[in-house]
Amino acid sequence: MAWAEAAFAQVAARADAARQHDGENGTGMRYSALSIVRNALSGNLNWKRAWRQPEPKPFYDVIIVGGGGHGLATAYYLAKEFGLKNIAVLEKGYLGSGNVGRNTTIVRSNYMLPANEPFYEFSMKLWEGLEQDLNYNAMLSQRGVINLYHNDSQRDAYIRRGNAMWMEGVAAELLDRAALKKMLPFLNFDHARFPILGGLLQKRGGTARHDAVAWGYARAADRLGVDLIQNCEVTGIRRENGLVTGVETSKGFIGCGRLGLAAAGNTSRVGQMADLKLPIESHVLQAFVTEGLKPAINHVITYGAGHFYISQSDKGGLVFGGEIDGYNSYAQRGNLATVEHVMEEGVSMIPGLSRVRVLRSWGGVMDMSMDGSPIISHTPIANLYLNCGWCYGGFKATPASGWCFAHLIAKDETHPVARFLRLDRFQRGYAIDERGAGPQPNLH
């Protein structure tokens, strides 16, 4: 009978849709050893999508601009820790296409200034429980971060830094030359100009898989109902009576109650949409990876005679980088002069590197702040919040940045560990300048 058939088809379609929805937003699936076995037995054909691909709703209580690590983490904590619903993250490209997928994956909490260290240590503690919390393998590897020193004054500076860390309850260890020689025999200890005399070690520092961090937060946020909207560029910020009412996007106008900006290298452009002139310059930083090698470098090592850092990925490639190119840039590619300089630094620290072939290099556009420290802050517009200024150190900050930004947006109140990271600190004379380089972004 036609009507029965039609009704049956309708019911089936509805069940199908429900199943699909359930599967697509992942609620039906927690990752576990069992799920791996079960999926392997069915030919790995039944893995569900890690997150939905929703169309934007006309209005959200909170919109976050930027689907990088910080935007995704913010949305996740807004939903999980602060109980907000009706949240969207708008991303102009795909999730993780920005710096979160381009960095050299170093996580550490070895800062010196009391305005920074408690914040980064909060982040380190969140990293330590992150994989359980997100039900996602972020491949956190606490292999230890070692900063090398090459002369007495540099050693004294590291002793000071180590003590400053201890004052915030973070362990640091000074290694002398003999200890280092045992741990890292491949270093160029007797370099004529920059002999290696020792290093400062933070054992809990290490690396995490950068894309997995973005994906883990994205999936976990999606499971809590956050709409992650990709290919949606914010092109304008609409305001009425001094308050934000929503954003113009490549997918049309989307209204919001509160707006959070987490656009990293594009912060100035997004800020300008709300007439904010910010203490930020965009600069390009490059990174490199070599062919895969057997395990050779077991730590994260930073050079004290130049700006160079290296670690080995779990796949075997040596991942390294140096300093920024030095001029304002919105291009995600860098200059050959910097490539040459980074290679020279690397070979000067580890001569054996000259025999290794580089496979790939890339660049990311970073939000360099005027004092080298980040901003998590109110703005002159009451329902507009700002997260930026991460320079080349924002990956390690991802969990704490998301948590503190969510706290600020949800409660309209600064989180205690982020209380120094205010936008108005520049005007009020409270710059947080770890390097003492002054208001010159290309020197931080």
Binding site: K277, I280, E281, A331, A337, Q427
Partner: protein
Amino acid sequence: MASLIHCPHCGIRPRQEFSIRGDASVTRPAPEASDEAWHDYVHLRSNPRGRHQEHWHHVAGCRRWLVVERDTFTHDVFSVTDGAAVAREGGR
């Protein structure tokens, strides 16, 4: 890629010979100017994606300060002028 800069005094030179100070569009206010004006000069930047004027110092060449006008996205260089000439023109 801003790898080569055409110095008006020395000709085409590699980027390694230069040191970059940054945004040349800001002007130092008078010493007695307001805190606002100084904050604006010291800290705030328009940071455009596109044409940008910068102070480059030809350290390993003529040691003159230059104003380089570049595109921060394509890295095209439009003009390189001696800093003193630019300052005279702008009445700075």
